[in-house]
């Protein structure tokens, strides 16, 4: 009987330790993971500025003078498509137009003139809501379609690197221009 009591106390201790340790789970940082894209620019296409923005006025995702390594873009929760505008701006006096540049077709250029070229890139995706746990709540995962659509005035190609969007720590797509 003494042994039975000792075993009861021993296993009860294991139960307490087990209960205290097993519930310490960290909540995921990303309940709404962002689309991570990088942009690769061929040197044959000079430009002054590049803008990346969505359909709404406040969807301004990138403004810069070089092609970004990483742009984080939220996906529309009430839609299954994301339209991105890639706007390239160049000013004739500040940009050297090379003979083999794709901009040469725009030969009727005037000096000290700003030109804007806009391409659209459309991603299609599906959304999956998952219950992580009740302490942390629900999270989203997106599955992006490998067939994206784009206009190609200056965008050359779009490559999907990872169709599962559940973290910003990996690049999901690359835009080449």
């Amino acid at each position: 009987m003494h042994k039975a009591k000792l075993l009861l106390i021993f296993i009860f201790s294991i139960y307490i330790i087990y209960s205290c340790s097993s519930d310490e789970e960290k909540c995921p940082d990303e309940a709404l993971p962002l689309l991570n894209i990088n942009v690769i620019h061929a040197d044959t296409i000079p430009f002054d500025s590049l803008y990346i923005y969505g359909e709404l006025l406040n969807n301004d995702f990138y403004t810069g003078t070089s092609a970004p390594d990483c742009v984080l873009i939220p996906l529309n929760l009430t839609s299954d498509t994301l339209l991105l505008n890639f706007e390239m701006v160049y000013i004739t006096d500040s940009v050297l137009i090379l003979e083999d540049s794709v901009l040469l077709p725009f030969t009727q250029i005037s000096p000290n003139t700003t030109y804007r070229i806009i391409d659209n890139v459309v991603f299609k995706y599906s959304r999956n809501i998952k219950l992580n746990n009740l302490e942390c709540g629900f999270i989203n995962e997106f599955d992006i379609d490998t067939n994206s659509y784009f206009t190609n005035q200056f965008v050359d190609s779009v490559k999907i690197l990872d169709t599962l969007i559940n973290s910003v720590d990996k690049t999901h797509a690359t835009i080449y221009f």
Binding site: Y15, L134, G137, F138
Partner: protein, 223 residues
């Protein structure tokens, strides 16, 4: 003198023979059933930060000292309301199985157990999640998962002890390793906590119960 010695010897032999024939009577061993409850169910709100409650009743009985058929039945309820979602799940479960006592008792009063065993379990429950709200640059979305009926079947391997703390009153622990056999497919969302089983996202999981029970004698039998 010789007659005296012989009579004395006879008396001595007679006394010793009497002592050997008078065996110590062992107490009769009872056949009993043992209803009990799982006390750890009452501690669920303490070990979880969410609104979870439960109750489990058990019954085992003795076939012989080593074999104990067991039946367990219980309820679980979860309700969690936050700014971002409302979640509710309610259900019941039962398990049936047998325990094998690995202890070799030294005397008939010894009813302590160190057992291994197996269970088959089934759970029927409903879950629903409403007002699941997310918001980002594009706006706000609110999603509902309607009430869904779900059934799960599983098997368990168990190991545990039961000690007789006071006469007929037992306390003990059972450690469980559970594996899913069959669960409904179209769940909407993976169940957070399946009554009787545990984490719905895991095909293999563990659990523990802390029981208190009382032996009710059915038949007293002699050796």
């Amino acid at each position: 003198m010789l007659r005296y010695i012989f009579s004395t010897l006879l008396l001595v032999i007679a006394f010793s023979a009497f002592s050997q024939n008078k065996k110590e009577e062992l107490p009769q061993r009872e056949i009993f059933i043992r209803p009990g409850i799982d006390l750890s169910r009452f501690a669920l709100p303490i070990f979880h930060d969410i609104g979870i409650t439960g109750f489990e009743f058990s019954m085992d009985g003795e076939i012989n000292y080593n074999l104990f058929p067991t039946f367990e039945i219980g309820l679980n309820s979860i309700k969690e309301n936050t700014e971002d979602f409302d979640y509710e799940a309610n259900g019941n479960y039962w398990r049936i199985g047998i325990n094998y006592n690995m202890l070799k008792y030294q005397h008939r009063l010894d009813r302590n157990m160190f057992f291994i065993g197996a269970r088959y379990g089934m759970s029927n429950f409903t879950q629903q999640a409403t007002n699941i709200t997310f918001e980002n640059d594009w706006g706000q979305s609110v999603t509902d998962f309607p009430e869904t009926d779900i059934q799960l079947q599983w098997v368990e391997g168990v190991i545990g002890i039961k000690g007789e703390i006071f006469k007929n009153f037992f306390m003990g622990y059972t450690i469980r390793v559970k594996g899913k056999i069959k669960m409904d497919d179209d769940l909407g969302i993976t169940p957070y906590f399946i009554p009787g089983y545990g984490d719905g996202s895991k095909d293999l999981t563990t659990g523990m119960s802390f029981s208190a029970s009382y032996a009710l004698p059915i038949i007293r039998i002699k050796n």
